[in-house]
Each structure stands twice: as structure tokens, then as C-alpha cells.
Subunit: 422 residues, 2 copies
């Protein structure tokens, strides 16, 4: 917690002077409980230290990129080795081809790959490729799904125009009837259906895709020639060693990747099936650092670890222990505590907590006990977490539920979450 003389407080003041709002984007503390640290100074494995030296067991994992642990030795060594040899040049290195081959070898629907920097780059490229391939305009997206922060998709529209979102039709995730209605509305102008691999929207319970919804999306695309896009930026390789929808047997035409594919080194990807290859070759997308070799080298090592280690089984096992242990402790304290999403990508919400006053108070109590959780965004487990870490988190949770039980009656409204009551 910042005190008047803390490094955190000093940095917040300096930031307010030279950064709009003191901070922008998803890592701003404007929407998490007061007292959450904004600035950090060190990270190792599953832990981060704020600028005052306080450590936290970090269940945000950098909002996703941290899969194998912060500062992973072999991934960082691959990065540095490549950086010293050749990184941002006048052309790519062989790492680009090797990484494309590695993705194509692992992701069953993919015949080719293109690399970029942001998840938003990948989703934007998917949109443009689908429109180039079909010569059509309309996109179907699930209402509330996050597909990036460009003008066509940012969740907060300030400064964007209705024309930035032209030709978008919204459906409800897992609602086949609404998908059918959207497809009917698009008619013969349907270019693509975007699908999150799971419903991982903020502020609400997470949902696995129903088989009926996923299959119907595939069927509509097969019938109309539209392109099925699975946006695996957030969940890719956290649910499977393949595209997330491979677990339910539905193959997209394009998939988008980012976050953990190089364990936090900056790279994202668009993968596609052969039938989209000519269209992808015809679009013009690029960036100054897109051909950087060092993140590709880190990606190659990350993909090797994904193929060759039991990281997935490990994070699922720890996630299940966490879920079971939290359920038991919440129930013992008398709280309705909903844990949704895959166990390795959980989101926690309290019953009867519309403005998140319980959630904010519990997360604050967890933070004070050295565990960084998020009150309304899905979290992530990483392979660097241990059974001891889960025990540590459960002990903190037990104390936090106990604290909340006595504190709850006195909790006031959470001003920054008032919009949820509107």
C-alpha cells in the first residue's frame, strides 16, 4: 500500500505529470481497488515485487503472457543469444521460417503463419484477410467480447466513429438463435464470424463454448463461404497444445495468437488454412519491429516447452486445487463465491455483489496478504507456481474471507464501479 513517503506514491505523482490519466490501458489501476500498486520493480517465476519491495504471488501473469514463469532462463537465454546475433534488421532471419513451421506443426487447422506485435494486429489482420478472401463486408461478433483495442474493436469508443464499426453484427455468445439471426441479417455479405475460444468477458461469469454454438458457427461459414476466426490471443496454449477449439473438434479457418506464445516477449500471430493463403498474401500489413528475430527465438523455445513439458497438466492440477480450496473456504465463511472459466484461467465473483464491494474488499485483503488477484478480469496460473504457492494463496484466502465476514456489513459503495449499477 502506498504511504506518503513510498516509492509508489512518488511514481504515481511523477506519472500524473507526464502521462495522460497517470496511466492508460488494461494495466491502469484506475479500475482496481485503491491501494493496488501501479508500478513494479522485479519479477521472478510466479512473483512480482512492487517498487516498495513488497512481493506478490501474481495470478494475473502479466494479463496472460507469463506462462512458464517470469524471467524464464532458457526462454530469456534464447532471446539474448538471438538479439546479440541479429534482431531488428533490414530483413528477417531463418527464425521466422522456423517459427511458422513450428506453429503449423502444432496447430492442426493451420497451414501458414504471419507474425506481428499486438494481439490487435492479429485480429485486425484476420478481419482484413477474411474480407479480402470473400470480397464481403459483414462481421459477426459476440456482444461484449474483447478482440483488441483498435478503433474497430476497442471496448471504450471515445474518439472512434460509427464508421469504424461499420458492417458489424452482434450476437450473444453460446446463443445459437442469435447467431442464426446475425447470419440472416448478414445475408450474402457475410465475411467472417469472430469467436472467442471461451467467453472470457470481463465483469461476468465465464462460459465454455457450447458444442452447438461452435458447430453452428462452423456450419454457417461452410454454407456461406464466410471465414471462421477463433481469437485465441488470450487463451491460446492455456487450454490445449493446439487451437483452443480443437478440444471440441471445431476447426477455424483463421486463428489469432499472442500473449504467452513467447512467454512475454513481444510477438503475436495470425495462423490460417491454405484456402486463405492467397488472400493473406494480398493484404498489406506490416510494422517496424514485426520481423525482429529475438522474440521469434524466444517463441521457438516457448513452443518447445509447450510441446515437451507437462505445463498444461500442471496448471490444470494446481488450478483445480485452488478452485476446490477456495470453494471450501468461501462456503465455510458463508459467501456465495462463483469461480468460472477453466481452472487455469479463473474469474472470481461474489454473489449479490453488483458494484463489486465484496470483490474489491476481498481482493484488497488478498493483496495485503501477498496475493495479487483481480476482482473482475480473468486470471491465469503459470507453470512456475507450486503446490506451496497454492497453499499460500489458500491460507491468504481463508484469512481474507474471515476478514470480509466482519468487514462486509460496513462496506460502502465502490465509486469506481458505480457504472455497473447503471
Amino acid at each position: 500500500m502506498p504511504t506518503p513517503n513510498s516509492q509508489q506514491r512518488a511514481l504515481l505523482e511523477r506519472a500524473a505529470a507526464v502521462i495522460p490519466g497517470g496511466m492508460w490501458g488494461h494495466q491502469s489501476v484506475a479500475m482496481v481497488p485503491d491501494g493496488y500498486p501501479q508500478f513494479f520493480e522485479r519479477a521472478e517465476g510466479a512473483r512480482i515485487w512492487d517498487v516498495d519491495g513488497t512481493p506478490y504471488l501474481d495470478f494475473m501473469c502479466g494479463y496472460g503472457p507469463n506462462l512458464f514463469g517470469y524471467g524464464h532462463p532458457s526462454i530469456n537465454a534464447a532471446y539474448v543469444r538471438q538479439m546479440e546475433q541479429a534482431d531488428t534488421l533490414t530483413g528477417p532471419t531463418a527464425r521466422l521460417v522456423e517459427l511458422a513451421e513450428a506453429f503449423v506443426g502444432m496447430v492442426s487447422h493451420a497451414d501458414w503463419a504471419m507474425f506481428c506485435k499486438n494481439g490487435t494486429d492479429a485480429t485486425s489482420m484476420a478481419m482484413v484477410t477474411a474480407r479480402a478472401h470473400t470480397g464481403r463486408q459483414k462481421l459477426i461478433l459476440a456482444r461484449g467480447a474483447y478482440h483488441g483495442a483498435a478503433p474497430w474493436c476497442t471496448p471504450r469508443p471515445s474518439g472512434t466513429l460509427p464508421s469504424d464499426r461499420a458492417h458489424q453484427i452482434h450476437c450473444t455468445y453460446n446463443d445459437v438463435e442469435s447467431l442464426n439471426a446475425a447470419a440472416a441479417e448478414a445475408g450474402d455479405d457475410l465475411a467472417a464470424i469472430f469467436a472467442a475460444p471461451i467467453k472470457h468477458d470481463a465483469f461476468i461469469d465465464q462460459e465454455a463454448p457450447t458444442l452447438a454454438y461452435a458447430r453452428r458457427a462452423r456450419e454457417i461459414c461452410d454454407q456461406t463461404g464466410a471465414v471462421l476466426i477463433v481469437d485465441d490471443v488470450r487463451a491460446g496454449f492455456r487450454l490445449a497444445r493446439d487451437c483452443s477449439w480443437s478440444t471440441i473438434g471445431v476447426q477455424p479457418d483463421l486463428s489469432t495468437w499472442g500473449k504467452c506464445i513467447a512467454n512475454g516477449h513481444p510477438i503475436s500471430a495470425l495462423l490460417g488454412a491454405d484456402k486463405l493463403k492467397a488472400a493473406a498474401a494480398g493484404i498489406y500489413v506490416t510494422g517496424s519491429y514485426w520481423y525482429q528475430a529475438a522474440p521469434m527465438a524466444a517463441g521457438l523455445e516457448t513452443l518447445r516447452l509447450i510441446r515437451e513439458t507437462p505445463y498444461l497438466e500442471h496448471t490444470v492440477r494446481l488450478g483445480q486445487r485452488l478452485r476446490d480450496g477456495l470453494a471450501e473456504r468461501a462456503s465455510a465463511a458463508g459467501f456465495g463465491f462463483r469461480q468460472t472459466g477453466p481452472v487455469q484461467m479463473p474469474l472470481f465473483l461474489f454473489d449479490d455483489d453488483k458494484d463489486l464491494r465484496l470483490g474489491f474488499a476481498w481482493a484488497t485483503a488478498m493483496l495485503e496478504r501477498g496475493v495479487y488477484t483481480h476482482p473482475w478480469h480473468n486470471m491465469f496460473l503459470c507453470n512456475a507456481m507450486t503446490d506451496e504457492d497454492i497453499t499460500f494463496a489458500l491460507d491468504a484466502a481463508e484469512a481474507s474471507f474471515t476478514h470480509l465476514k466482519s468487514a462486509a456489513p460496513g462496506l460502502g459503495p465502490v465509486a469506481k464501479m458505480a457504472f455497473l449499477l447503471a
Copy 2:
């Protein structure tokens, strides 16, 4: 040059199998002479080595990022030191604040900074900030100017829609009358004027901004409340230790930066004046890796070198030697050889060479002599270049002009440049 058994040839074949078109974006060799290498394996200072081990003195400098030399020791050391301590986390480090302070201290129009990954991120953020600030829609852009590769600005529109470019009005760079006409067309709906700091369009002679044009852009914005944006992604810190238009005394409201600000490590920036700060705080833009600390640490060291070393005077002096020496040699060989743009960001075009057959043949001859030039895109000098390098380039140029003199009459059309004749 690839031979049937070369590494280059083998990689091109593997790339064609798993990458659309074998490569995408500005580093594709599809638009440079046949035989230009696509893949590289090593870089140091001013030189790059292709995958067959052939070295080139590189006048592309990674299309801009290489300002202080590939693999710069102190910049890379800053990167690695920060990467080992804390890089992509759940929040930023103090480097973010320090880098914002450094930019604000160096760029005279700037009161605040936001960081992102691509140059296109920065120009898109500038557009959205301007629209948020003004509540208006129209943008004025110079026809043919490059401001990125998102749907709203990519130079090749395949897969984009007219709605992606709604509310754009084009003028002609340095043509005050066309700027006035564009402003008149925008009327009271003018949100922003985008201006490249110099006309650095591909395929044509480069132009410095006229004072009349720059001042009129400023004046229109002052009169209408619109936002003046200088897109310094490509030229920033190559012409001045401040925004490029500081050299002509015209201050923008927003400026966009990228390329060389961390010597090739992936970071870009939007800088703004105080009056835009509230609007910038209200837009939602973000990316998984935008808060990465290592590129910020590299940026801090790069900005220190920009402030404390004579890199600018050095690249200008070498650029002038190159320009004078090339002019002399071209003239001696009887060629009309136009060198435009600042001497440290030159572009070369031959007279009477519409489909670039002379340019392609000369560039190929240079490449064969170990000098990597570009036949239609502006180039860059870097601080790692020496007088010996310029002598090496001039010797190669002399031989290449001599070669071209005898080869010119036999040159056929350049198929890949046929579109220039249309």
C-alpha cells in the same frame, strides 16, 4: 545471390510453404531486384550478413530503427539488464515514467507521452485522440503519405472497406492551396491535419516541407481548433534532437514516434501538448506488451546517446560526403542521378527511368559489391558508419555506374515495377 544450393534458396522454398507469399510487409523482397537476399543471419554496427554469410554495408538500417549501429553494446546491455529484472509484468515499472519524462524533456511541444509497439499504433492513437478532443470527424492527409498499415491508412487497400477510410480528405504535400481547399471541405468538422515531417513517400523525389505549408497547417488548426499531428515515426531524431518540425519553428499538438527511439527494440510513442491530455486519458488503447520495461530501458539509453553524442552531426557529415561523391561519380558516368531528402535519409532515382530499370540494375550492382541500397525507398545512415564505409560505398558506386553504362542499353523492362508505367 542465391545459387541452387544456397541457404537463401532453401529458406525461400521453406518460407513459401508456410508463409503467405513467402513473406509479407515492407521487408518482402517481392518489390526489390531479383537476387536481393530475403533472409539474414548476423548484424553488427552498419553491416548485415545474409544467410549465406555475405556481408553488406546496410543503407536501409532496418528501414529506420538502426540509428547507433546494430547490436549497440550499451543499448543492448540496458535491455538485458532490465529484461532480467522485470519486463512484461502485471504493471509497468518506473522505466515508463522515466521514459515519458525523458521525451517531455527533449521534445519541445510535448507535455506528456504514451507508449505502444507499432508506428501504426501511435498514428492510430493520434487520430483517435484528435477526434476525442474535438468531437469532430474529418482528417486531412497528404495524398500518398505513409502513416501506417492499419485498415484506415494502409497503402494497399485489399481487404479494407471504404468505411475504414471514411471522413478522410486528401491534399497535396507542400501545396498550400490544396490544404486550404481540404480545410474548406472539412468545414467545422475538421478533427486533425496529419503531416509527415518531410515528404518521404516511396518511388518519388523527397521534399522538405515549405515553411508556408507547415505554417498554414498550424494556422488552420489554430483557427478551427483542429489538432496538428506530425508523424515523426520515420524521421524522428534523424533530423533534430526534437520534433522534426522544430527545425522550421512549427510546433504540432501531437507527434508520433517509433523506429529508432530504442535503436530497434520494439517501442513507439505518442507525444502531446497539455491541451490534448484529457482526451488522451479518455481513449482506450492498449496492447499485451506495451508496458514491457526492457524496450523502455533501451529507449532511455538511446535518448541519452541522442542527447549526449554527435550522432546527428556525424550522420549529416557522412551523408553529405556520400551525396557529393555519388553526384560526382554519376555525372562522370553521364547519368542523371537524383539524390533527394536529407543527406542522412537519402533516396536515389535515375532520370528517365520510369520503370526503374536503371535503378534496379544499379542497386543490384551495388549489392554485388557489398552495399545494400534501395531502388525506390528512402534510406538511412547510422552512427556506426565511418568515413571508410563511405569510401567503400563510393568505390562500389563508381564501379556500379561504370557497369551500368555498358549494361544500360541492354536492360529490359522490370516486370515487378510495371505498375509504375500504368
